[in-house]
Symmetry: C2
Subunit: 616 residues, 2 copies
Amino acid sequence: MASSWKDWKERLLGKPLATSAIRHERLTNMQGLAIFGADALSSTAYATEEILLVLATAGASMSFISVPIALTIVGLILLVALSYHQVIHAYPQGGGVYNVAKKNLGEYPALIGAASLLVDYVLTTAVSAAAGVAAITSAFPVLFPHRIAIGIAVILLLTWANLRGVRESGRIFSIPTYIFMLSFGGMILYGLWRHLTGTFPVAVQPLPGPVPEIGTLGILLIFHAFAAGCTAMTGIEAISNGVQAFKSPEAENAAKTLQRMALILGGIFLGITALAFWGKIVPVANETVLSQIAHLLFNGSPFYYLVQAITAIILLLAANTPFADFPRVASQLAKDEYFPRQFLNLGSRLVFANGIFFLALFSSFILYIFGGDVHNIIPLYAVGVFLGFSISQFGMIIHWFNEERVPIKNVAINIIGFTATAVVFLIVFFSKFIYGAWLLVPGIFFVVVGMRHIKNHYGRVHNVLKLGNEPLPEVVPEKTAVLLVSRFNRGTLYALKLAKSFQPAHIRAVHVAINKDEGEEVQRLWERYVPDVPLDVLHSEYRDLIGPILAYLKETDRKWTNDAMIVFIPQTASTRWWHFFLHNQTNRRIQLAIEQDPDINPDIYEVTIKSPKQGA
Amino acid sequence: MASSWKDWKERLLGKPLATSAIRHERLTNMQGLAIFGADALSSTAYATEEILLVLATAGASMSFISVPIALTIVGLILLVALSYHQVIHAYPQGGGVYNVAKKNLGEYPALIGAASLLVDYVLTTAVSAAAGVAAITSAFPVLFPHRIAIGIAVILLLTWANLRGVRESGRIFSIPTYIFMLSFGGMILYGLWRHLTGTFPVAVQPLPGPVPEIGTLGILLIFHAFAAGCTAMTGIEAISNGVQAFKSPEAENAAKTLQRMALILGGIFLGITALAFWGKIVPVANETVLSQIAHLLFNGSPFYYLVQAITAIILLLAANTPFADFPRVASQLAKDEYFPRQFLNLGSRLVFANGIFFLALFSSFILYIFGGDVHNIIPLYAVGVFLGFSISQFGMIIHWFNEERVPIKNVAINIIGFTATAVVFLIVFFSKFIYGAWLLVPGIFFVVVGMRHIKNHYGRVHNVLKLGNEPLPEVVPEKTAVLLVSRFNRGTLYALKLAKSFQPAHIRAVHVAINKDEGEEVQRLWERYVPDVPLDVLHSEYRDLIGPILAYLKETDRKWTNDAMIVFIPQTASTRWWHFFLHNQTNRRIQLAIEQDPDINPDIYEVTIKSPKQGA
């Protein structure tokens, strides 16, 4: 059984990789751009539309502002990218905002940054999977009733690919990302050529309106449109969190990839906004802006379908970026003991398997809970992104103040970057507060408090276990042995003999009787075979075993408070794996209950009764 | 946490019931008829249609045969009911076919009977839930995409009601069953009055055809139609399996209820067949025969909707009957050690909770796997029912031969009953063999083999544990202590000191190093603090802890083969329930792997390290 499980695991995930192979499991820059860039690039599929939707409320006359807004956002993208470029060089271990804030701003800003990142990643995977599935189901409406199942299937597929290892998932997911870049690049260049030759087709003849006045309301509208367009920036921080996934020199390669990614992202976003402007496209309910552009330019040709298909695929792939980042951030937190230790372990394929499972579980859960209606979550995660940006930029400013002889350019980048992202954060946060962004406040609060609790707990444990100056553990104190008796048989006698061989100061046996006859039978046999040890028979009118046992152990512990208590649990030896299901379930539940009870912490001795030959 | 979990459980299931309350938790005959009769009665909703569907293949001219066929089946129903009446008196402990066959035919027929019952119950719940949901979704097509979710929700609801206890579920489910009986009885009487007054409406004007000749093909057709109609008999055995759910005198009450149930079942089935015949109803694709009848008789009146609604409800309630029976049969099997011991336990509300969970789990699984298409499973379960009937009747024949002075009437009932049900079994089995009934052969085979394996295993365990004539367990042999070292700290030293205090003949410590540095660090500290005990450091290139530990234990066990091996696992004391998730997971997995490994059966000692004050 053990070996066949291993076979299956290997077939599914590939052969285990030796720890020494970790250097070979890194991503090339090409792969890194695809894996970490998918999230950011996918936002170009909807960011322009978000801007136009806001502007449309003021009538078609305002739509010319979309291009200046996009230009501003591209400037911001480059600024933030430059800032993260500096983050990568300063903190090449990855972890992005968390490590920046930890070094420069202290514990709580670091935890807030980390919490916003983690929450973000879960939301990104859920939202992207749902958005990709929505693109599929709008092409094949017959699949619509199965959208949640398909979304979860997508997440499972990503989980599987990522458990196979970073390099393998890089191999699997790189190609569509590059097809996306090429086809969108091609579309933009083709549109530019049509524009320059004056043959750009126009969607609808716009009414000749008056030149708009930009009044107070207009300014607010522009701010609003700008905030909406800032969704284009989500995902830009991804590379800074996963620096160690790149080949050596890690920082060098990651920074180079970030630069390229920012340029491609800015180019595509600006290009699409320009195409929409030239085509005088107005957002409508039943067709995306992107689809309208592709219709205008390639109506009827297969290139239209390529653009639509690759858009759906990139939206699905955006769900993959967190799989590269979340487990790394979680492992950084686990290393600092803010997260359970299990997140620190590398799995058989040299990936942080527990982090991958956790992300898959939570994002599937959110997908399931919100059903098709994930658009409600989008405000939430744009806010989290900008909170992370602002904290990391502010951290970098402090970073420079602590260094000597810093080029003024570096400081300037972060000061301007911080101001811009903090302003955007405030705009986005307050404009989306009532639409759900308020949820981030309790959400991040609880995650931070939880992490602090974990840290405190590990701290106390270290205090108990540290070798340091404390005296070495004292002589083992006197022992109280408690034998749990479920039936009276040879096993009971064997366990009793074993317990006695420990020479405990006190020895007790306890039996919980579910019905009267059984209790009397055990009592009768006990008195006949074991006259020298007292047996306590507890009658459980409600057939509950655990409650009476815990109560009994607590009472015994109080009685001899300076003793070390040992609970002896007899059990039968398994000789086939499935025997496990025929026994032990009750023993296991009792054992778990004892371990989880904060009031008692006895040692637990599982006595395994061998067959007569073995025991002889 | 423990107490709040208990609160929730009580709120959900009601207060725990004392074992002594079991007599008050029995069903009245009224409730018993509703609980155990729902399955049988629900089959009247489709049995007539099954007959007409077969006859329709020969044209409308054959439909007059439906009434004689129904009469024959009603005769068979009464015969089988009489037979089970005798089963109940002979085996008042319940368990039906299983106990009859065990006493009279030996082990394997009993296991085959029990296996066919268990498989049947799972299928009944799955099929009935699906059929009930189908009735709902044909009224509200908007719910169709959610049919699986609704079906599973229905099963969960039944699980909940049954976990609350037999009496409570009797209270919840009785009323609709009686509404069903009353409304169907009313409909039949009204139809009879219309027929007698010559005002019975006719569906379509049938073509005046020639009087049909019943040739060879005709006979086959009649057999086929008869076999199809025998679905009316499913569920008739339910009362015999759950005799102990009735109030005292159990056998008396159960037998009386069975009689009533058979009469009501036969009456409704015959009545509906007659109504269909009088109305000259032909089965059509988009409306059930029952709906056609109700349309004819009550077109437009609210009574039509009542009939349709109560039909949907009784189909759903048929899914409840197995919840009363399956756990009882499973507990009978567990008592004889053919089933895991867990099925023997009464839960907090005096029901066999594990059996209820198991049934819910498996029937949900089947519902999920087959999706909406459960009609494919129907052949399967009619076959299983008649296999059970035949075995139990044959068992009763043998039963009478072993008794003295048996009334000839009793023997005759079972001989005729056996012949009839065996013939029906063969007809149904072979006519449905290629449609899936063949699946029963491997299905029952595996269940029977599984039960034999379980029995063998418990037998071996009893042999090991029995007190009997065997010498009492020998002196505890020499001990080999193996200490698992994960990190080097005070806990390690404490556990080592404890292990030494057992005066083992051999003592070993082992550390699995995930990376080189860590291994060297542990080695260095070990040599400094513990010069007298050897530490084995195992390097795990693939970061697997369990494999190397199991291999090490096996090797150590082989080295000192006559020793009793004790594995010491240090762990940290929990002082809050959630601390559990921050530790122990690896320890737990190691412990489970050791317990499940058939090659080694060491004792396991969980050393709990207390804080310095406690340990002092």
